[in-house]
Symmetry: C2
Subunit: 214 residues, 2 copies
């Protein structure tokens, strides 16, 4: 039931950690630091050093015994193994404040996510938004997704329109959906769904804070 698709048999939690390690390697390179140990990585992220060594071992990687990892080699190993070179065509649906924020989130393109379309049901809005991204009315979602071979759709519409939006994306042949609406979407098995849910995070945090009081 639970999404447990693996990449080359790397467990999902390891994948997540490796992505963070990858980005930290970029930061280290900028700072001209060329070596890093599992214990340093552990301290930075709050993981255990054992976990990190195991994660890195999934790369089929051999570090330097006694002397940590070469930052550049580590970064490249993650890049190759997880195929981070892949470029993805992305669209955003819902151009309210959140959608606009995403439209202007430049780190996405740096990591290979090309925003090639934006959609909103309010046609007037499409004219007032200043962006290089091509904008379309919501009823064209299916056609544009198909025509532009868009793989990932980011849903930033109000909760009550989220399922309908997802359906249109799916009809257009979308392969992955990132959903910001605080609602459970129904998608076919071959479509990957990820939810980003600020409200749920706030509620969870509140529960954890209550628990701290004990």
């Amino acid at each position: 039931m639970k999404q447990n698709i693996k990449n080359n048999n790397i467990p999902m939690p390891s994948l997540e950690r490796l992505l963070n390690i990858y980005r930290f390697c970029e930061y280290l390179e900028e700072k001209e630091i060329y070596s890093v140990s599992s214990s340093r990585l552990a301290r930075v992220f709050g993981y255990s050093a054992d976990s990190i060594r195991k994660d890195i071992s999934f790369l089929g990687w051999i570090g330097n015994f006694g002397a940590g990892y070469d930052v550049k080699k580590l970064k490249n190993a993650i890049y190759e193994k997880l195929r981070l070179n892949t470029i993805r065509r992305v669209c955003i649906i819902g151009l309210g404040r959140l959608g606009n924020a995403i439209l202007n989130y430049n780190e996405l393109i740096e990591k290979g996510f090309m925003i090639v379309a934006g959609f909103d049901s309010n046609i007037n809005k499409l004219e007032t938004i200043k962006t290089n991204v091509e904008l379309f009315p919501a009823y064209e979602i299916k056609d544009v997704v198909k025509r532009k071979a868009i793989e990932i759709g980011i849903i930033a519409v109000p909760a009550e329109y989220a399922q309908e939006t997802a359906n249109r994306l799916i009809e257009g042949g979308i392969r992955g959906i990132i959903n910001f609406a605080p609602i459970a979407l129904k998608v076919p098995e071959n479509v990957i769904l990820k939810n980003i849910d600020l409200l749920a995070e706030c509620m969870l945090m509140s529960i954890l804070l209550n628990n701290d009081n004990k």
Copy 2:
């Protein structure tokens, strides 16, 4: 190492599912549906029915054998057990597009999250934003957090300022941080940190899509 604080010994994954179930109960009530089975909940969320029954059992709850759960009772049981009545004082740091989107995210107040302050380092920006929330320059973070007894800080500043922002919140006595910047923050053990990271989600999705091709 990993954050595994428990609430009344309810495992973290169960807490997350219960929150989703809680919100779905609200939806069912609106639709005037008064009974729901574990298998229906399973279908909606893509969990297994076994998991859901186990989750609900943590509530010390007794459903109706042979006839599913009473929606209202289930909702209330979750509400009571997880103490969702708690009201939290929240602030947002960084009033760019994302910060503004959060400032206007009305579901937060409905769930008991009062946004009582917004901060930005650009003082001119503070005057142009139209909102009922009290706005302050960033250098006042520590004082305002202390004075207003703010418990949760939502960081929506660029990555390079995120750690500095977190430090100020911590000095003010913040108890939880929700971080939208794609960077690992260092916080003391008694502060709960949750990251919301669109870039990481996109990258992870890309990896999963690659894997689908096999």
